[in-house]
């Protein structure tokens, strides 16, 4: 384990990280980016500029990204689409659906069907998803029920 490493911008990076981790943990709640900027001791303008420079997305873009990734995860469960929408912090099913389609190319329902079909296929024919050379090396191709 290395000793405490420090560098000139350490406090800036740690403040931005706290803002990012806050969004990771509270994405499902209404988040006021003004107050996050305040908590990080930045003006809103500087917060957005520095956040984007480091994380390649504005804070708002990052929050949408986190919400979308969680939505994709929840759509692989039996949770109704409407519930997924609100569980991820979106405020209306209409805007959630159109944003989801814009980002993924599919509606939430289409995405869910595709993912559940894939999960079922992996469960019923797992060897299809294992490169043949590895399956042979492990002796898995000798298992008769697959």
């Amino acid at each position: 384990m290395i000793q405490d490493y420090t560098y000139p911008e350490v406090y800036l990076y740690r403040r931005l990280l706290q803002a990012k981790l806050f969004m990771d943990a509270h994405f499902h709640e209404p988040i006021n980016l003004d107050s996050i900027a305040d908590e990080a001791y930045f003006s809103k303008f500087h917060f957005i500029r520095i956040f984007k420079k480091i994380y390649r997305r504005t804070p708002h873009q990052y929050l949408v990204h986190v919400r979308m990734e969680k939505a994709k995860q929840l759509l692989q469960s039996s949770m109704p689409v409407t519930s997924v929408c609100y569980a991820c912090g979106f405020e209306s099913i209409g805007s959630f659906t159109s944003l989801f389609k814009r980002i993924t190319g599919r509606t939430p329902a289409e995405y869910r069907k595709q993912q559940l079909d894939l999960i079922a296929d992996k469960k019923s024919t797992p060897l299809k998803y294992v490169p043949a050379c590895f399956a042979v090396k492990h002796g898995w191709t000798q298992i008769s029920n697959f």
């Binding site: 384990m1 990076y13 990280l17 480091i54 390649r56 469960k123 797992p126 590895f134 492990h138 298992i143």
Partner: protein
């Protein structure tokens, strides 16, 4: 003609705990997780921007792949940190270093400007080490 690589392997001591490291700490996604039977799990993860690159988290078990002595030797070598299986890349090394550290990743070398790169080194939960560099 070979066009790309689509699977690479990382040998891990515990396939049950490895996802917590690679998914929850490094931010990778599970690509394939299928089980052929007890002790026969095929588990791959992928970096968030390379969904087609499957990193196989390979168990080190006695079987057709490893004889008993070879498995024991391999486990010891992994535990000793013998292997550096990959060089990872990020957009901002200091930001990534702070985040991974906050999530409990153990660094063996802090972000350091070398003649060849701005680089840090960290270990996974098995002992494997990795280089993390900043995208140019």
């Amino acid at each position: 003609m070979i066009t790309k690589i689509n699977h690479v392997s990382i040998f891990v001591l515990n396939q049950d705990s490895a996802p917590d490291f690679y998914v929850n700490k490094l931010g990778f996604k599970v690509h394939t997780d299928v089980t052929m039977g007890p002790g026969k799990r095929w588990l791959t993860v992928c970096p968030p921007e390379q969904p087609d690159l499957e990193i196989t988290l390979m168990a080190i078990d006695e079987g057709m792949m490893f004889k008993k002595e070879a498995a024991e030797t391999m486990r010891t070598l992994v535990q000793q940190g013998t292997f550096g299986f990959a060089v990872f890349e990020c957009n901002d090394l200091l930001a990534t270093y702070e985040e991974l550290k906050a999530k409990g990743v153990e660094f063996t070398k802090p972000p350091t400007k070398e003649f060849y790169a701005f680089e840090a080194l960290f270990k996974d939960d098995s002992g494997n080490w990795f280089s993390l560099g900043e995208k140019k």
